[in-house]
């Protein structure tokens, strides 16, 4: 079990101060670094990316008094260095074999939890967002590109803005579905326990 973020208030404040003298900007930089670290760890195949990101931050904060006086340059570079070190410590990239890929197990007759959750979560979206996400994922290949172009035209936004909007909606939906699935699973476990 890796360490969760366990910074003291003072250490955290010192860390922010190092990132930027303006606290608000420092806060934003901190968030970017943490999000970036999570993506890096995920990309390296780690399933516990969030705690590894916190581990990096802990280590940097812990050594801040040594680093700060002499360090020249973008702090992000230092965070990356520590992240690389942790990756090396963890040994090798976590690869999984193709045959262990999760296969779709649901059938039309008995919808999976995810499917059920998706139906529920779609209802939580506003009609416009629902329309957007469903339309956006129509077609493949050049048809998809053409479809996006037309959607962007209709919405009077650029194709890139559409892409970002669709992604954010999808992320919301994805988060909702994951939580819903987790709830269903927990319910199932507790109902089994009741039997």
């Amino acid at each position: 079990m890796r360490n969760a973020l366990s910074l003291t208030h003072d250490t955290f404040e010192a860390l922010l101060q190092w990132l930027d003298s303006n606290r608000e900007r420092a806060g934003r930089k901190y968030e970017v670094i943490r999000s970036g670290l999570i993506r890096i760890f995920v990309s390296k195949g780690f399933s516990d990316a969030e705690s590894l990101a916190d581990e990096v931050i802990n280590r940097v904060a812990g050594r801040l008094s040594e680093i700060e006086p002499d360090y020249v340059g973008e702090p992000a570079r230092y965070f990356r260095g520590v992240a690389r070190k942790i990756i090396l410590e963890a040994g090798r990239r976590k690869e999984i074999a193709t045959e262990t890929l999760p296969e779709s197990t649901h059938t039309a007759a008995e919808p999976s939890d995810e499917h059920e959750c998706l139906l529920r979560c779609l209802k939580f979206l506003s009609p416009e967002k629902r329309e957007l996400i469903l339309d956006y994922h129509q077609y493949e290949g050049s048809g998809k590109i053409e479809n996006h172009r037309i959607m962007a035209e209709e919405l009077r936004i650029s194709e890139n803005a559409l892409r970002v909007q669709a992604h954010r909606t999808r992320l919301r939906l994805e988060k909702c579905v994951l939580e819903c699935v987790e709830n269903l699973r927990m319910k199932r476990i507790s109902s089994k326990g009741a039997l």
Partner: protein, 1184 residues
Amino acid sequence: MRRYLLGQLDEAEEEALELRLLTEADYVEELDIVTDELISQYLAGGLSVDERERFERVFLASSQRRQKLSFARTLQDYLEEERAATPARSARRAQPRPSQPRRFFKPMAVAASVLLLVGLAFVIWRGFFYQSEVGKGMDALNAAYRHARPVEARVSGLGYAPLLTMRGGSASQVDEQTRDLAGRLLLEAARNDPGPRTQQALGRFYLANHEYDNAIHQFEQALQSTPADAQLHSDLGAAYLERGKAELSDQQSGKGLEDLGKSIEEIDRALELDGSLNEALYNRALAHQYMPLPQQAADDWRKYLEKDSTSPWAEEAKRNLKLLEEKKNDRSRNEQNTLENFLNAYRQGDDEAAWKLYTRSHNSSGNAITKALLDSGLGQGDDATQSFGALNYLGQLETRRANDAYTSDLSKLYAAASSPKRAILSQARAEVKKGYELFRQNRIADSMELFETARGRFAQVGDEGEALAADYAIAHGAAVQPDIKRGLDILARIMPVCEAKNYRWLLAQCLGELAHLQLNLNHYSEAIDESSRALHLAEEMQDWNGTSDSLVQVAGIHSLSNDEERSFDFLRRSLALDDRKDAQHNWGTYIAISFNYTAMGLYRASFDCQQEALQLALGIKIPLYLSRSYLYLGLTYGQLKLYDEAIRHVQLAYQQGLPLANERSGQNMMAMAWLKLGDLYRLSGDQPHAQQAYDESLCLYDVLEFPHYSYAGHKGKFLSYLAEQNDAQAAQELPVVLNLFEENRAKILDERQRSFFFDKEQDVYDLAIAFTSSRMGDSQRAFEYSESCRARSLRDMIRNGAQVMKGDDGLNLRVPGGVEPLKLAEIQERLPDDAQILQYAVLKDQLLVWHLSKSGFTARTVEINAETLAQTVAEVQRRITSLDEADRDGAANGLRKLYDLLIKPVEGLLEHDKLLCIVPDKSLHYVPFNALISTASGKYLVEDYRLVTSSSSSVFIDCTEAARKAGAPREERLLAVGNPSFDRLAYPQLRSLTAAVREAERSAEYYQPASRVLVNEQAQAGIVKAELARSDVAHFAAHYLIDPRSSLSSRLLLAKRQGGGAPANDSLEASEVYRMKLTHTRLIVLSACQTGIERQYGGEGAISFARPFIVAGVPVVVASLWEVDSDPTSDMMIAFHRHRQRDHLPTAEALRRAQLEMIQNENTRYRNPYYWAAFQTIGGDAEF
């Protein structure tokens, strides 16, 4: 990012990307988006085998990603279910895709229920499983270029990939197999489902493959069906942009600039249709950047970034914008440091650096470094001593490197000058400086006074160099005012002195000014000569600004004589020089480019150049530049038919001159504005105001004694009277206009400029012909106007010979003028009894046909517009030469249609027993008259008449009389050239013409035994040329290569000389023939491809390889209209010579008989006009 997610980046790339992830919030979100897109592609089976393997092994290593995949799969399943349950959703977005369900949905709604179910099943199949070939092809194309995009421009349907510029021989970043797959799929799609979408997709493939011509063809084809498709216009713009870039980097011609203009045109059209189209916004910025219009490019990038600030495209946009801004700052920094850098170089004895700085510091008022050193030297103390030291060094350097004594003389004079002399010099220099300040305010007269005073002072102290420079400044002022006589007088006085004293830089300035003055007198040829001399001098002296100025000047002259192709060549050379030029120079460049674009109908591109120029003019603050900028912008608005804006801008141009109304320069601005206001009022339909404006302009130019624009003013008035149908006034104005036209004509001696100029100005004669014929009912005068405007240069050359000149702009012909066209009565008088003429005039909305015989003259009018006629002719020729069976009927129908238009109106007047001379006009030069089919008899025209083609009735008379002098039929000596063994390495695309050997040998059998047959390696240029002059008849069965840039360089390939030599020595070039005097040769047979026409000019007619032979004195030439097939041509030519010699038939009749034999050929294939109708007899009526 995709490569990062799939673990394909090397360490450095990975580090760069991860650092961005840790510093840029947007970048994190972009990675998340690309992650989702990658998952979607995986589920859709859109990844290559390698990618799929990496996706499963690397990408899915973390549980978060597997969760995401699971969610994506659920979402996909849901979408598919929903599509099946409610096809309306799938249909809603499906409209634009032909392969999608919507297209089938509507018919389904009205079909029977069974059909409904079947149709529904099909819809579901299409929606779920079927992906069109176009879709697959585009997916493959995207996959092929996933690591690096193929072109810099944005192409719709192609996703982002970085643009990699590889150094050295790095492996290509394209996945070639997948690209080939894309090509196969898209070509298949084009065959199975042709249509705009397929054409667009195929165009994208060609563009990605750098096959720009094919890409442009496909996009243009697609636009014919869907002209309002913004994306297609943007893609076409991208293709022109990429082709233009490639052409500019080849540094061969200025065609790249033309393509960039076309690119802007298409992209702007795309943005007019859809202002938010990111591809078009992006490409527009790129096109402006390459043109280069830096201010507009920077604005475009900013606009783009307002729409898209986060995508990877935006990153590139930011980089481009930064580069443009850095370049701008760099330029101003460099300008500030020039003197300091020069002094450093001087102190260090770094000649190279010092010379470079010096040569880049020239401008029209002198050299900035020399001036600074002189000013500083006239001061006191160490600085003064050091400045004279530096000046002395500079003088020696200039003498050594440029053989120019100017600075050296100045250095000696200043160093030796006493204090009183220095005071006078100081005062004179201050006056020159002040003079140039006033000059910039367009207070030309005041500035000239100061220059005059300064000149006196310089002369007083023996400073001949600066006195000459002051004289030059006065001449410059005189040219701008304009006071042509004064300018010419001064230059005539000072140029010999500059030459004698070896003041070469000053001489180059004078030559440039002389060109300016000559141009104001409409002396185009002299202007080009003087400007070219200035260019040579500037190049020799490494004066980059001077070189660039001269290049722009020559480009401008070519542009004014309507030769945009040459003009672009010079502009390309100017742009390729160091880009640190001053604003005034750049202003001139943009204006010259805009003129060319306007002439080519690329008004949007022209508008952009003028906008850039206006921004510069606002910075320069010289009234003349501002006035001209507003004027040109106004004219472009006029071309776009936005007359209110146009008139407003021209009024602004007028207002710039108003405060200087007492100055000649101010009056000049006002006169020009009146002239152009006249044009705009006329085009907007306000004739009274137009005529008033023209009168104002003519009056002001009269006051200025500046006749340069008289022609334009009077032509405008004539057109205005025509527009309001004021026949009396029009009839009065017409002779004035035509006289001025002829005056201009006489001033242009170079054939190419003359042809271009009159091709454009042909409309004046066309209007004169139409007016005289239709409104005045005077057919005879209309015919004479027609005769006055055609083949005049050819006639001049037949009479006076031609001089081939080699200039900076390639080969040209110098044509002395003075030969008047024949009047109708003279033509009839000199016309042989057995000949008749059909002469055509293709006018805007009518075709006039005149039939002439010794005793008769009749005119007919056919109502057809020139464009429709040209399209019909082009279509007929396309079908004839396509050889596709499917086109055969179409070709025959076209030939019938042309017969009805061209022959039927005068059919009753034609006499079968007489030779029929055709004098075509414009597009009719491409018509195979011999193959026109009578709708009544079904016969080809050649079956009823022996035909000759001539460029004008007067030329026909000249050639006929030359043929009479060449004697009667007799046994002739033939030179027969067949299948010369040309240089196969130089022309790998050409095949050996084995049938041509037989053609030469068999043809020779009918001629004198002394005839000469030169086949294969025997056909060496030296022998051929010597034999040509000695032979009565010369027959060439060989390859003919057309040089699209200059017909003078087109050539017949001859045998490669043993031991090598330049390729030019292994051919017979048109320019060589123009130099020949073929007094003995009376017939030339050019049995090769397209020897009868290469291009045609509105006035001069057909330009071809036959033409120089006519000029050289050969009265009859047989030549071809299109590329011919060797074997049947060989048979026909042997028959032709047999008829000439054995049956003693004249050339036209012999060719007719040979063609009739082809029409009745046993081999039915050869009856097709393609095989025989290309050949025509050109020239006069000959007995031999």
